[in-house]
Symmetry: C2
């Protein structure tokens, strides 16, 4: 059976493209409020679980020992644009742990935005590992490894105490068994395990509420949520969905994108977690689904309108089409309890 | 009913993402050899019909009058990377018609490749209309307008004699009625009409063979195919599917990508046209489908293997997954007649 069409892409009066996918909205006790499509199929969460992967930063004592700021904590959970502030903040995290970007195991990646690419080129500099969208997460890994008393070398590999702690954090937050046959390698060269959307959403409901978490972990989750709400630029960057939505919503929502069409969110006031996977891997569709869910579950007006229905524009900036929720998504959202 | 899954994206041993779509392979008499999914649904062909849109360049007399070279004709059919040779060639076409890039109606766009972006930045230059991936097509439009004796101003709009000739060329090649409610605006600010895949494939079968075309048009089609086969770099650029496949196949195949997951091909020796649309708009999937069809229909060995099964790599260039044909596509291709 195929997943429903969740998002349509229009041009003129015609639907040009269609995105199918699955959505789970789950509370902290594991009850499913909304389920669309196959929510039991294991999917790679990719960068959508960076907040879980940042928990060892607290549980190792690194955050306290190195006096990490809100901006640095937010960057540890980020998929950032490689803008100047992101890069400087990642460097400062490494310096706090007495290390530098030579320690990073993620590969080099150009900054996301044209302006930042051009700035590097004008400086005769090349994009490096520090510009990788995951460099903040990796800088956090290095900090945590050092705080654990481990040599950071090989921190991205199975068997290294840091990576085992990271894998354990994701496993215990989602409650999903991390089977070897569901393991792949992420774009930044760390292991990633496929987990069902229901488990992913349940993990974010617990991240939102602290329900069922050890007190120290619940405190770490709250600290991460507060840090990202205070520094939403650091978790993504200029123009990005995560940054724009959290600039508008503050502590009301923690949201995070993952590669290949994954999105997650934690809504403390509703005690809910959200997990979205677009079948074909399209970020543009996962964003529309997430914006519509946030608007409905938080009882918003048109605050997120630009994210719920992004315009397709020509290179001359003419408005030529739209992304919009398809009927299956609209109907499912209309059936949600309002509070 | 949903279109079949045509392409899978793997990571480790897991299928991470899935692309659905439709495929039509049609001969010059309009007989369908292969049909997968809904091939009657009108889809925007986008840049996949640039070769049809280049026909007025010949029918206006512009190609002869301005002595257009193979490289210039190939660029007129291109979605190029904005590399230095592409930009210089577009400028030369405009100069041949006594115009310059100020005439171009397409919007500015950065070059595709990091190296070309960096080169511009080091020159303190900004990306312009000439770097737009459609600038060769637009330069061809300007040449044709001038040859028609029309003021090029507004050449991208309905009602301008050049654009009416372009629209008529697409309509007569595909044989599809171009209804007003199926009209949208392309990314480069020209009208685009949605047409069924069967019509699109039939148009490329006629483009491959000349069947049913006026002698002058059949000659123009042959000239375009020869020009692109001689200058495959000009139709796309470094590393691109269209360029790589035609570098390998020469005159045996004319292939062309279009935005939102469209691909077309013309196979003269088989007398066939191919049209592909991926539901979700993903180019990566349309390329795999096209490579598999080319390999089967031309009886190739492993010449296109790297395009049929592209590797997914981490930022450290580790091989972490693959794109591959899904079972519905493999089965349909296995059922094709071999010659």
């Amino acid at each position: 059976m195929s997943n429903p069409i969740l998002v349509e892409v229009t041009r003129g009066g015609v639907v040009e493209s269609r995105h199918r996918g699955a959505v789970a909205v789950v509370d902290a006790d594991g009850r499913t409020l909304l389920s669309l499509g196959d929510v039991d199929l294991p999917v790679f969460p990719r960068s959508a679980v960076k907040a879980f992967q940042a928990l060892p930063l607290f549980e190792s004592g690194a955050a306290a020992r190195f006096g990490l700021t809100d901006a640095q904590i937010a960057l540890a959970c980020s998929s950032h644009n490689g803008e100047q502030r992101h890069v400087e903040t990642a460097r400062a995290m490494l310096a706090a742990a007495g290390r530098d970007e030579g320690c990073l195991a993620c590969g080099p990646q150009p900054p996301e935005r044209e302006a930042d690419k051009a700035r590097l080129a004008r400086m005769q500099a090349r994009p490096g590992r520090i510009h990788n969208n995951c460099s903040g997460k990796h800088a956090g890994f290095v900090c945590a490894a050092v705080a654990m008393g481990a040599d950071p070398a090989g921190y991205n590999e199975r068997g290294h105490p840091l990576m085992e702690a990271v894998i354990d954090a994701v496993a215990t937050m989602t409650g999903a068994p991390l089977a070897e046959d569901l393991c792949g390698t992420d774009g930044c060269s760390i292991p990633t395990f496929a987990v069902p959307l229901t488990h992913l959403a349940h993990g974010f409901a617990r991240f939102a509420t602290g329900t069922g978490l050890a007190p120290e972990r619940a405190k770490a989750a709250a600290r991460i949520r507060a840090a990202v709400a205070a520094e939403p630029f650091m978790v993504a960057g200029t123009g990005r969905f995560c940054t724009r939505s959290m600039e508008l919503l503050g502590t009301r929502a923690f949201v995070k994108t993952g590669a290949e069409g994954v999105f997650t969110a934690a809504l403390p006031e509703r005690g809910l977690g959200i997990a979205v996977k677009i079948d074909d891997g399209a970020a543009r569709a996962s964003e529309v689904v997430t914006a519509d869910l946030l608007a409905a579950l938080l009882g918003l007006g048109d605050e997120l309108a630009a994210l719920q229905r992004p315009a397709i524009v020509s290179r001359n900036k003419e408005h030529v089409g739209d992304l919009r929720a398809a009927s299956a998504l609209t109907a499912a959202i209309a059936g949600l309890p309002t509070s």
